[in-house]
């Protein structure tokens, strides 16, 4: 089996490099070539003509687009993604601070989504043929019609403002010092044995993660339920019933394992959906992740940041896809070639 896993990983990584390269070209072209006056997007409002000239030289704006891209690529490969116009800081540093926050949020969001969807899908399957199923079904369709940013607003207004149960701004209460470490607060605080701060960080994560989860769950519930329905009519399930196994055993030992496959495929395929939701959810909750960073950069016309964030999103998505592929091979013996 391990040979197949390495195979898959190698193939994916080999494919990822040209993909990242190509995508960086596309993003570059869109942001540099399309706007009427790219220079204006690259300068702070109070720039002097001398500043403008310096930037023009450094980025090669008077040369062809291809050369400009190569200049950018050369810089990027040596770790320099330019400086943010609004924050006057290197883009790489902004990204390094913000990325762990978003990854943490997405991970907790995914976890919440699974906690909601797996029992949800089982429930929807278990009540098939009854009136309850119809009611639940309509509920799922309603959930599908509410994107994560609307959930974010509801949760903020409801649990944050009206009920006051949970905080709705930032990663931790102001005044708490974020330790150096991985950047993942749930890990760093545990490592430093700061239990109270850990709880605080978790509390701040709950509402935004729930917003993401609620936007994502209906998709997973759907696919889990339909693959359970298909599996229940499979030949090996009827044969298992003939052997005397009860429904619970059949669902847990047989059907779920098979239904996991299309479910994981869907999660992998739609992960971008969850991940992209961070843009608005972070903005609404003032959560300092890369989504928030991008929205601010858009408002500030901060081109280098926009470019950097787009790149990071791309790399992260490809990494997740690789993980999903590997997981798929682990779970599906038919894919393991002897």
């Amino acid at each position: 089996m391990f040979k197949s896993l390495i195979n898959v990983a190698a193939r994916r990584l080999a494919g990822a490099i040209p993909t990242v390269l190509l995508l960086s070209m596309v993003v570059f072209f869109v942001l540099r070539a399309l706007p009427a006056d790219p220079l204006a997007l690259l300068l702070p409002p109070n720039a002097t003509p001398a500043d403008a000239e310096a930037v023009r030289k450094a980025l090669g704006l008077d040369r062809s687009i291809v050369i400009q891209y190569l200049i950018w690529l050369r810089d990027a490969l040596s770790g320099d993604l330019g400086n943010s116009i609004a924050f006057r800081e290197p883009v790489t540093r902004l990204l390094a601070n913000a990325l762990p926050a978003t990854l943490e949020l997405a991970a907790v969001g995914l976890a919440f989504a699974l906690i909601i969807s797996i029992p949800g899908g089982l429930l929807l399957y278990g009540t098939r043929g009854t009136v309850i199923e119809n009611v639940l079904d309509v509920l799922v369709v309603c959930m599908l019609s509410i994107p994560s940013f609307l959930w974010a607003i509801f949760l903020l207004l409801g649990f944050g403002v009206a009920l006051g149960w949970l905080p709705f701004s930032g990663r931790v209460d102001s005044g708490i010092v974020i330790p150096d470490g991985t950047g993942f607060l749930l890990i760093d605080f545990i490592v430093n044995l700061q239990w109270g701060y850990w709880q605080n960080a978790l509390a701040h994560l709950i509402l935004p993660a729930m917003a993401l989860a609620l936007g994502f769950s209906p998709l997973v519930i759907r696919v889990l339920r339909s693959s359970l329905l298909e599996a229940s009519e499979d030949h090996y399930v009827t044969v298992a019933r003939q052997r005397g196994l009860n429904e619970r055993q059949i669902i847990l030992q047989h059907m779920l394992r098979n239904s996991a496959l299309p479910t994981i495929t869907l999660i992998g395929a739609q992960f971008g959906f969850l991940f992209g939701g961070t843009l608005l959810v972070e903005t609404i909750f003032s959560y300092p992740g890369i989504g928030n960073l991008m929205v601010q950069a858009v408002r500030n016309h901060d081109l280098p940041v926009i470019q950097g964030v787009a790149l990071i999103f791309c790399i992260t998505t490809l990494a997740i896809n690789t993980v999903v592929d590997i997981l798929y091979v682990v779970l599906n013996p038919k894919l393991r070639r002897v």
Binding site: R11, A14, Y236, R241, G244, Q253, R257, K334, V338
Partner: protein, 620 residues
């Protein structure tokens, strides 16, 4: 001594669209300890339904409305769900059909077998030893290794052996085998049937053997019950039912099976087909009456009780009908002959067809699989050539090569003298048509029958404007024996036999000179099969249509073909006139295949003791 299983006047009723339909009517039979009883019938006759009654897994709107089903003296219907389930796997075991899909594809054989052992109450420490012992008993080589494998890594025969081992593991009193060999090759079937019979003897289990193959049941079972449309029409000792059948349906079922030996007689074909559930309500009396040749005016309205006609032999038919259909004097037919002196319709010269697959690290290694190794043969104008082989022998590939759906990797193919052009664009010739095996996949569900059979008229040389097409369609329906009111129906509204005829009609619509029929009757009921075979013979005679008939069924091939090619693993191992090859086979594979087929005569011993099953090689 109480019977192990007893059905006493059992009726199963279904509630569908507000109506009550008797799906099974007054079924009565018994199985004693160590008995082997066969349930024979075509698809939809209700034989599998009986299996579901035994397991208690009837669909929601079905229920046993009358009679008693007893197992070992207990009335099964009065047991609670949990008690009933407790019997399954332990005292009542099932051997399912389609073994490859009967096991969970994402769990190992070992884990599923162990789960079963756990369920029947064997303690964990004994699992491994017991599994290996049982798997060895069913002659599964490399038993230890098999436990770690997944179902898709085993062949159909190997999977079935595992399932048989699991079924007998709990030392059940009753084993129900539901079409256990239908999906398997002829040779594997012989092995599996022998295995089931052996296990049954060793464990002294009562065996209920469900099958559509009357001859097979005759060889395996001591007693046979014949099912038709939810009724059991005849029941008795196997030899009596097969040698001296009494019910008109049993007689026609036997007659519709082509013989492997003896003179070739016309297959009598029953009109129409067995009624489906929806029509049951309209058939109050004998459900076979509409198709029966010897019925009288009472048959359709009155149901007759079983009438004893011999020791343990009864039939649901009146004495008047015993004189019935005389199946002995069917005319002998001649072999379709080739047109003398005509050039070969198809000529293959050292043709190879290979597929490449990428394997290994990053898919850099390429492996080659030869579907057809080196084929050299000819098809004569006007003849019906048979290509016989098991799955994977390459026969389907030859068919596709003939019509041009595949391009040979090596060698030349000549059709009516012209060499097939081999360029970047590989054109098919409308002169050769293919009738596909699976009518579900072969007919576009969105086209009506009219538009399907006239599909060839929509383009090219056969083009005809819309106004002319209906007349052509009606002629084609006549040729294939379909009623004219089928024209505006859609495939989903047709039966399997009717769909297959539309398939043939569509191929004929292109006015081909040669037709390749790829397994077009496997999966069809025997009576429908007879119709189609006669239809093909007719077409060959009337239109001088050259045919290539691909099949794994030796008896069918013998009925239809003047010459045959035997294929095995991509090679043509034997070739010659049908009678010569069958009566005097030269190649060991041909000999083994002929031995593996259940003989016409129920007295001849079968299954034979074969050498190691060729499909039983190392695990893939």
């Amino acid at each position: 001594m109480t019977a192990v299983l007893s059905f006493d006047d059992v009726t199963v009723t279904a509630r569908m669209s507000g109506r009550k339909i008797d799906v099974l009517r007054n079924i009565s039979f018994e199985l004693g300890q160590g008995d082997i009883v066969g349930l024979v019938g075509e698809s939809g006759a209700g034989k599998s339904m009986i299996g579901r009654v035994i397991s208690g897994l009837l669909p929601d709107n079905f229920s046993v409305s009358a009679g008693t089903v007893s197992f070992d003296g207990m009335n099964l219907e009065t047991l609670g769900k949990a008690e009933r389930r407790a019997l399954l796997g332990r005292r009542i075991a099932f051997i399912p059909q389609e073994p490859l899909s009967a096991l969970n594809p994402v769990r190992t054989i070992g884990s599923q077998f162990a789960e079963h052992l756990r369920h029947i109450g064997i303690e964990r420490s004994r699992h491994r030893a017991l599994m290996i012992e049982r798997l060895k008993q069913v002659q599964l080589r490399n038993a230890e290794e098999a436990l770690l494998r997944y179902p898709h890594e085993l062949s159909g025969g190997q999977c079935q052996r595992v399932l048989i081992a699991m079924a007998f593991a709990g030392e059940p009193a009753l084993v129900v085998a539901d079409e256990p060999t239908t999906a398997l090759d002829v040779m594997t079937q012989a092995h599996i049937v022998r295995l089931i019979a052996e296990q049954q003897q060793v464990h002294r289990t009562a065996l209920l053997f469900i099958t559509h193959d009357l001859r097979l049941a005759g060889h395996v079972c001591r007693k046979v019950g014949v099912m038709y449309a939810g009724d059991m029409v005849e029941f008795g000792p196997a030899s009596a039912v097969l040698k001296a059948p009494s019910h008109p349906y049993t007689k026609s079922l036997l007659a519709a099976n082509p013989d492997l030996t003896g003179p070739r007689r016309v297959l009598p074909a029953l009109s129409d087909h067995m009624p489906g559930l929806a029509s049951f309500a309209g058939l109050a009396g004998c459900r076979f009456a509409p198709r029966c040749a010897v019925k009288d005016q009472d048959c359709a309205s009155t149901r007759l009780p079983p009438r004893q006609i011999g020791e343990g032999h009864w039939v649901r038919c009146s004495e008047r009908c015993e004189a019935g259909v005389n199946t002995e004097s069917r005319e002998v037919i001649s072999v379709p002959a080739a047109v003398a002196g005509a050039p070969a319709a198809v000529a293959f010269d050292r043709v190879r067809l290979s597929y490449h697959a990428s394997r290994g690290f990053m898919g850099l290694q390429r492996s080659r699989f030869d579907a057809v190794k080196s084929a050299t043969f000819q098809v004569q104008e006007g003849e019906i050539l048979g290509i016989v082989g098991e799955s994977g022998s390459g026969k389907t590939s030859i068919g596709r090569l003939i019509v041009g759906l595949e391009k040979p990797s090596e060698g030349t193919i000549r059709v009516h003298g012209e060499e097939r052009a081999s360029g970047a664009v590989y054109l098919t010739h409308r002169d050769t048509q293919l009738i596909f095996q699976d009518p579900q996949s072969a007919l576009n569900p969105r086209r009506s029958v009219m538009r399907l059979v006239t599909q060839a008229l929509e383009v090219g040389e056969n083009y005809a404007p819309e106004s002319e097409r209906r007349a052509v369609a009606e002629a084609l329906l006549r040729d294939t024996g379909l009623p004219p009111d089928c024209l505006d129906r859609f495939p989903s509204q047709l039966s399997g036999g009717q769909r297959q005829r539309v398939n043939i009609g569509r191929a004929l619509g292109a006015r081909p000179k040669l037709i390749v029929a790829d397994e077009i009757v496997s999966g069809l009921d025997v009576s429908v099969q007879a119709h189609i075979l006669n239809c093909l013979l007719d077409l060959n005679r009337k239109h001088r249509l050259t045919m290539v008939f691909i099949s794994h069924d030796l008896a069918v091939v013998r009925y239809l073909c003047s010459r045959i090619l035997m294929m095995h693993a991509g090679d043509i191992v034997e070739e010659g006139p049908t009678e010569a090859v069958f009566s005097n086979p030269q190649h060991p594979y041909t000999k083994a295949l002929l031995e593996a087929v259940p003989p016409d005569n129920a007295d001849k011993p079968w299954p034979p003791v074969l050498e190691a099953d060729p499909a039983m090689g190392a695990l893939r």
